[in-house]
């Protein structure tokens, strides 16, 4: 009911800093930040990877911090979620895990076949007759284990701990594995109709946190799983508004992945291909993600193209992309300026109310029209820069937008639609 005033102040901070990054001050950013795109999926390329399992803290949308376990890269500092591993179809992928936690840790690669651990087929671990790990683990306090497999199938996959899973995955030991098809890095699968605009590739890693579980881990005490109840839901390891901050935002050092999607309208000539969003659910419930204003075309699930035995297209358009625990969904999307409204030749067929007679959203530029802005009433400001559209996407199990008492702070992000090029956007 009551929205924390701090949250909105924080949103302003996030956005102002984001705008600075977009604006002329961008050259003052560290060189590393400039090397990577501000939005879109950031790949850690392989096919040989060294991962660590380590502890750290992340910033929560209600201004608290949360103790986490996560995979990272040696010398890369703590990060959550684990790095997005990108390989090519047919690569022999090798992942060496070094475990700095005080409990054994492992990595499962659901969807991969013939996974080897230390050169032998990966196997579950037992203590007596009790299953203690779904796969070979690295011993506590410095143990290592090396997994390898051939990435035969293109698609989007999860990697996550197979040891004490409800604890360790809940603590944050998960990440994404992207296998690029032989058809090319701008295809999701080896189907011509899975091609996307290479600069418009996005990922949405959906997760959840029970703060009591994390507190117990931090204090080194036992946590009773019967009491598990998620109270935070996250998108790429961030809540809103952090979710729309840039990749590698300096004030989120352990949470490198943003979730803002930036696209241009569909155009048969200049911009014919869709964007892609790779959805991943590493939580314990279904997450029905709802993109406004554009349906997702589901073309793949769990690393399989949605097709029939003869290659028939069985893809489906969805306005609620309902991802189950452990599933991955590959979704193409675009935004089409269906009516082409503009102030000069095709105004909206209704009187536009005076801006003092409406409540103005913080992303609204004052004009209904793409690429146009209007002067706002005295005292009003907007975060809109060039008449671009901001179209929200969010989880529609709406209680999951609540960050343990701070509403509208969960898995929310935006589709930013810039006017067609050339435009005046910074």
């Amino acid at each position: 009911m009551l929205t924390s005033k701090f949250k909105w102040m924080r949103l302003a901070l996030v956005l102002l800093m984001g705008l600075l990054a977009f604006g002329p001050l961008a050259h003052t950013q560290p060189a590393q930040a400039l090397e990577q795109p501000q939005v879109g999926m950031l790949c850690t390329t392989g096919p040989t990877f060294d991962l660590t399992a380590e502890t750290g803290y992340i910033m929560m949308p209600d201004m608290t911090t949360m103790f986490m376990w996560s995979y990272g890269t040696p010398g890369g500092g703590f990060q959550h979620p684990g790095p997005v591993l990108c390989v090519n179809q047919g690569d022999t992928v090798t992942v060496t895990l070094t475990n700095s936690l005080t409990v054994p840790v492992s990595i499962m690669f659901p969807g991969q076949e013939n996974v080897q651990a230390n050169g032998a087929p990966a196997q579950p671990e037992f203590s007596g007759s009790t299953l203690v790990s779904l796969t070979n683990s690295a011993a506590a306090n410095g143990g290592t284990v090396t997994y390898s497999f051939v990435a035969n199938r293109p698609g989007t996959f999860i990697y996550e701990s197979g040891t004490d899973t409800k604890m360790q995955v809940g603590m944050g030991l998960f990440g994404a594995l992207i296998v690029r098809p032989n058809a090319g890095a701008d295809h999701v699968y080896n189907r011509a109709d899975s091609q996307f605009t290479a600069a418009e590739e996005y990922i949405a890693i959906l997760s959840e946190i029970d703060p009591y579980q994390h507190q117990a881990a931090e204090m080194g005490v036992n946590f009773n799983m019967n009491n598990y109840r998620a109270r935070y839901w996250m998108l790429n390891g961030r809540g809103f508004p952090d979710s729309i901050a840039d990749n590698n935002a300096s004030w989120l050092p352990g949470q490198p992945y943003g979730a803002l999607a930036l696209i241009h309208p569909y155009d048969a000539g200049a911009h014919p291909l869709p964007a892609v969003e790779r959805f991943i659910n590493v939580g314990t419930e279904d997450y029905p993600f709802h993109p406004h204003g554009q349906n997702g075309l589901v073309i793949g699930r769990d690393g399989y193209a949605v097709e029939g035995p003869g290659g028939q297209d069985l893809s489906m358009e969805k306005f609620a992309v309902n991802i189950g625990p452990g599933q991955t969904w590959d979704v193409l999307f675009k935004w089409y300026d269906a009516e082409g409204y503009n102030s000069a030749t095709k105004p909206v067929p209704v009187a536009v109310p005076n801006l003092v007679n409406v409540a103005i959203g913080m992303f609204y530029g004052g004009s209904p029209y793409l690429g146009e802005m209007e002067t706002l009433p005295p005292g009003m400001n907007t975060l809109n820069q060039c008449g671009e559209y901001y179209i929200i996407s969010h989880n529609h199990a709406l209680f999951q937008l609540d960050a343990w008492g701070s509403p509208m702070a969960g898995p929310i992000t935006y589709l930013r639609v810039d006017p067609p090029l050339p435009n005046n956007c910074p």
Binding site: W8, A320, V358, A359, I360, G361, N381, P407
Partner: protein, 465 residues
């Protein structure tokens, strides 16, 4: 709620001046005359429908769950607080009585749940180049004058919408108390959608500002001969989505603690959400079987219009007065051999698993999309259980089985099939027995036993329960 305060803080930080504009009503008096033009007078007839957002009361069954249910601040026969929309399109001035506008204002604290069902014909530049205009006003919240929440109407699933008409308040505008806004739609994709207020949406959705909207396909106009009724769910080109009767199955939920807190100005944590009651068309079983409130059939061309009191505009009081603000039946009746279209939409927060026992349903649409791949491959399928996530819609058609003969399995002249949420935790009405919540019946009559469906969601109910 209280968005104004947070936005004000935000503006302060951003170096903005003192005034936040959430409608001119918050402007200082001395500025208002200068800055705030007169409200545009509503041009008569310049809309297809006119909805009003406000608060109100609804009824849910016992047992008591003190202090939350029934809420002791709610006057019987009602039990719980809610927000909602009212359809105020057809109000007229009364000679010597209230004007139409006064009747609209009189609907404050008279919301209904679920919100009105409404529908449009598919837009087409040549066959049907008709804009659909939906005007919405915000009457304010009678029981919470401390709240100045705006409202919007978000059409959930509308493709390629511009933010101006999306009703999402951060990327666009919202309607302050006393304001008016007209949404214009050119729906190019037939199917079943849903709508809700998107301001503080966790709260305003849970409080009940939710309903179904659907788009009729162009084929109804261009090629009606593909099925005897001339009515189709989609542009199927072969009549496969033709149907004889259609019913909405709208799923929503009530968390009684949140309703109580909303009325009593108390806080709670939405992350702890619990669905105490799960509703079909705004009611729990067995009320789902009771008829619609009296329908204004003549005006039910774009929405299902509930009759209102000609003097006050209030919803008429039905046979069960506790259901005055929950006017929609969820009963399904049909004749043997008929095709029946069920339009499912879930604006609860939980997955639902809707099972129709004894009759298979054919899934012909999902999220307002016909079941076809991009290459035309038919992806429709048959099932008796629909697993529906929050925010999903499904269109299913079943063919009514043969009538069993005699007086029917019910003893009342019809055969009975039960449609229910297989998540039994969602059909309990807070009590044991598993016979509440999202549950209703399909009643199959012999051929010729019913006559044609008179209007959307018309379920003839000849027999007492």
């Amino acid at each position: 709620m209280n968005k104004q305060f947070s936005r004000r803080d935000f503006l302060k930080l951003a170096g903005g001046a003192v005034v936040t504009v959430a409608g001119g009503s918050l402007l200082p008096q001395f500025l208002r005359k200068t800055l705030m033009p007169e409200q545009v007078v509503n041009a008569a007839g310049d809309y297809d429908l006119f909805f009003a957002g406000t608060d109100g009361f609804m009824w849910n069954p016992g047992p008591s769950m003190a202090p939350y249910h029934p809420d002791d601040w709610v006057e019987p026969p009602f039990t719980n607080y809610m927000f909602g929309f009212r359809n105020v399109t057809y109000f007229e001035d009364s000679v010597g009585g209230l004007t139409a506008d006064e009747k609209v204002q009189n609907q404050k604290l008279k919301a209904q749940h679920n919100a009105p069902f409404f529908w449009l014909d598919q837009y087409d530049d040549t066959v049907n180049p008709v804009d659909f205009k939906l005007q919405v006003t915000n009457l304010g919240l009678q029981m919470r004058p401390d709240l100045t929440d705006p409202h919007t109407l978000h059409w959930h699933g509308f493709r390629n919408v511009i933010p101006f008409f999306d009703g999402e308040p951060t990327g666009s505008v919202a309607i302050p108390t006393g304001g008016l806004f007209t949404y214009v739609y050119r729906p190019r994709d037939p199917g079943t959608y849903m709508y809700h207020c998107h301001v503080e949406d966790i709260e305003h959705v849970q409080m009940g500002m939710t309903g179904i909207v659907f788009v009729r396909p162009l084929q109804n106009i261009t090629n009606p001969s593909l099925y005897p009724s001339g009515k189709f769910a989609y542009n199927d080109s072969d009549g496969s989505t033709g149907y004889d009767r259609e019913f909405p199955m709208f799923l929503s939920e009530v968390w009684v603690k949140a309703r109580w807190n909303g009325l009593h100005i108390q806080e709670h944590v939405w992350a702890d959400f619990k669905a105490d009651f799960s509703l079909l068309n705004g009611r729990v079983y067995p009320d789902t079987l009771l008829p619609n409130s009296p329908i204004d059939v003549a005006n039910s061309t774009k929405s299902l219009v509930i009759q209102s009191d000609p003097d006050t505009g209030d919803l008429v009081i039905p046979a069960e007065p506790r259901l005055q603000n929950q006017p929609h039946s969820a009963l399904i009746t049909c004749e043997a051999g008929e095709r029946v279209l069920l339009r499912f939409a879930n604006l609860g927060f939980r997955e639902a698993s809707m099972t129709l026992a004894g009759i298979k349903m054919k899934v012909v649409g999902r999220d307002a999309t016909p079941m076809k791949g991009r290459d035309g491959t038919d992806t429709s399928y048959e099932t008796d259980t629909l697993l529906m996530g929050a925010g999903e819609s499904y269109d299913t058609i079943f063919t009514a089985p043969a009538f069993s003969g005699g007086s029917g399995s019910s003893g009342n002249g019809y055969d009975t099939y039960v449609l229910y949420n297989r998540r039994y935790t969602q059909v309990s009405n807070l009590s044991d027995g598993g016979s509440g919540g999202q549950r209703t019946e399909v009643r199959v009559y012999p051929t010729g036993g019913l006559g044609a469906q008179a209007h959307f969601n018309d379920a003839v109910n000849y027999f007492p329960l």
